[in-house]
Symmetry: C2
Subunit: 453 residues, 2 copies
């Protein structure tokens, strides 16, 4: 009967201090999503497997958590089916639902399902957990939150500029120094075109990414291994050696890509986006990075990735423009652009750099020690008035030893401890100890409220 | 390939306006949980089935959503197991995890698992979805949020008083007129004792509950059917006819229960709790209701239920004191008291009484019409300054027909629409239309910020 309790591997409990820190991140992101006009939606944790399957590749299908049908889950399985032990086939018969794997597919499903109620462009944000049956390891969980903002139904590059401005504001408020890397899928396509290797985009971007680490000769050797021609390798050289500021990079690229229509379109888009964000002004470093290729098959225009500058960690936010979000659900031609904040990695960055506000571990501003029935009741009245003034306050519920009650104040990092004993009861006053300075003074209720505000 | 998208039955998408309304409820509850010193925790959506099974009765086990093991889920199933088609046995072998059914069992598991890190009393709140494979019907969903606050590790009745005060404050802020019904399990136990029918508590409370609807004679007939003796029925009569205010009820009950030790303890507890909340003061009606028996097997002291007065709807909040929360996980003697706000029902009440604040459907305070590249860029700069001043603002991303852009303002219930055309560009000013009055005037940026604040 008695069990040693535990939770499924790859999942986490969040303690009060962890919740306070997570809320600090989520609240900052959410406040800015709202300031920028994004509207919140929520979708169910479970989706029909027909909605989820085939959207994340064969590997992704395996990483979906599937929910057994309730009641007789073997109803559709014949004896032959069972004897055959074909896992994919049996899962299809035993499970109709799965846990969502990301927020993008549910969003696409939402847009199609509710298209008659939506005014385009539709700016939505969504902050909810997702589940993946990945092998758990450090920093990788089976349940984690995604924080996505997307605008669909608008091709305007002002949307990209606005998302960059949003990223800038969020990390500015979180006090994290970041570099925002920006690329454009059309530029990558243009490069592949001009060197005559349209099917090798990924190999090329991997090579561009490695140049600083392993040098030109080694990169070229790798490209040869991948089957690139000598002409292509020498045509790629100016791109591998691309340097200077954003303007210099753009000028070089423009020269290289001049024969590629799609490449020139990419340059033009990049100029508009960079021009826009520079005109608005920004705190974060915004830099063109031709090696950036995240989700290449998905993004069709601007690609964005954010890296923290003072911590060795992967991308902490990413996004880009995509065409045809909803085509798979029968609604074509809907393009959009979006970003996703990586809350868990942002949490790690804030921890490592000790950037969380110091008062997040405070539960209440003031704790009243319990000296017995009458005193506690009077304290409850004070506390009620304080709460009405917006001050988090509480009375120790038990008249236990003062030392034990004071330990509650310590463990909750309470800045003020209040004492209402017999003599305070008579004088209708509150003795308050400032826990930081150790100073102790008598206050009226009104003064105490002022103090705690 | 093309699918008509839908979501699993009993689940819901929440649109922006529904989210704004839901957030209004959650934020009100959450703000008060914090003011009262409750600390937030979160637990994973999935728990080990060993944690969940057997905690909600046999019926409850069937209502758990079970997650198929990833990889070879048939690994532990022999051919004989499969041929036998024993659903319970096969589920145990195919599924290790399930979705949480409520927040109480995960909380109990949390307390035991983290007991070395917790200072008692521990006041926690938790607002998360739960899942039940119930047959969906009006107002009953397979995924819904629970909003729970509990304090464990303290026997003090001040906790009950505080929870009543919390309920009072929350519904006062939501502007819902409520009656808070209060009972005590020990009083019910005392009644059963004094009439000599200790095993018939449930039948007795059902009878008390029906007296207003069907009258004394019919209630007595039902009690006879249930096998109560004539002596018991006549001993119960003064309880069935209990009337008057709380003090009158308490006086009558005290007389009736004087021979029952546990009954008298219940009366004493009730006096302390009612005395406490009356001394603090309250807006909601607080009334002793001897027929209240919710979760009888679970609660051991005070029982609380909240009903909306102006709408025909069931209980919108409930709770009570329990012993031995964590016994099933090997940690005994931990008592606590808690309440759970029914967010979905509160939503329905606020809808029916039209009590949601009117501005919840506003996405942004001000929308800038897009008159072309240069004008839009200038508008983006104004919008950036407004956002920095905490005002939600946006520019229409596309330079589409004014009529189409104005329809965006309408559908988002934007109170101010801004026009920055060529002449405003020259004069560095903003023409703003007040959508309620139709009035249109020219403003500087600073004036516009003042207006929108």
């Amino acid at each position: 009967m008695i069990q040693k309790p535990s939770i499924p591997k790859g999942t986490r409990d969040f303690s009060p201090i962890e919740m306070a820190r997570r809320n600090y991140i989520f609240d900052t992101i959410k406040r800015n999503f709202k300031l920028f006009g994004y509207k919140q939606i929520e979708t169910p944790a479970t989706e029909n497997l027909s909605t989820l399957m085939g959207k994340y590749g064969e590997e992704g299908d395996k990483l979906l958590f599937k929910i057994q049908n309730s009641g007789d889950f073997l109803k559709s399985c014949s004896d032959e089916d069972l004897a055959e032990r074909n896992l994919v086939k049996l899962t299809n018969k035993m499970c109709e639902k799965g846990l969502r794997y990301d927020l993008t597919v549910p969003f696409a499903r939402y847009v199609v399902q509710h298209r008659n109620d939506l005014t385009m462009p539709f700016k939505r944000y969504q902050i909810q957990p997702v589940w993946r049956a990945d092998r758990p390891q450090k920093g990788r969980y089976r349940e984690f939150y995604q924080c996505d903002a997307d605008v669909v139904g608008s091709d305007s590059l002002l949307n990209e500029v606005e998302l960059l401005s949003l990223i800038d504001k969020v990390f500015c408020e979180l006090k994290i120094n970041v570099a925002v890397k920006i690329n454009n899928r059309k530029i990558l396509q243009g490069i592949a075109e001009v060197i005559g290797e349209a099917d090798k985009i990924i190999d090329i971007t991997v090579a561009i990414d490695k140049i600083d680490k392993i040098g030109l000769e080694n990169v070229n050797a790798e490209l040869r291994d991948k089957g690139l021609s000598e002409e292509a390798i020498s045509a790629l050289r100016p791109i591998l050696e691309l340097s200077g500021d954003n303007d210099a990079k753009l000028a070089t690229m423009q020269e290289i890509l001049k024969s590629s229509e799609v490449g020139m379109k990419g340059i033009e888009e990049m100029r508009t986006v960079m021009g826009g964000i520079d005109a608005l002004g920004h705190t974060a470093k915004m830099e063109i990075d031709i090696s950036l290729a995240r989700g290449l098959n998905y993004y069709t225009g601007t690609i964005i990735e954010v890296k923290a500058l003072d911590v060795q960690i992967g991308s902490i936010t990413g996004g880009g423009r995509y065409d045809n979000l909803t085509g798979v659900f029968g609604m074509s031609g809907l393009s959009g652009v979006g970003i996703s904040f990586g809350a868990d990695r942002i949490y790690d960055v804030l921890c490592q750099l000790d950037l969380f506000p110091k008062d997040l571990d405070q539960t209440v501003k003031i704790l009243f020690i319990n000296f017995g029935e009458k005193e506690a009741m009077q304290s409850m009245k004070y506390v009620k008035a304080m709460r009405e003034a917006g001050i988090a306050a509480q009375v120790c519920p038990d008249n236990s030893k003062i030392k034990k009650q004071m330990s509650m104040a310590d463990s909750d990092h309470v800045p003020y401890v209040a004492f209402v004993g017999e003599s305070e009861l008579d004088k209708d006053c509150i003795v308050i100890k400032d826990m930081a300075s150790g100073e102790q003074k008598s206050y009226t209720l009104a003064e105490a409220i002022e103090l705690c505000k």
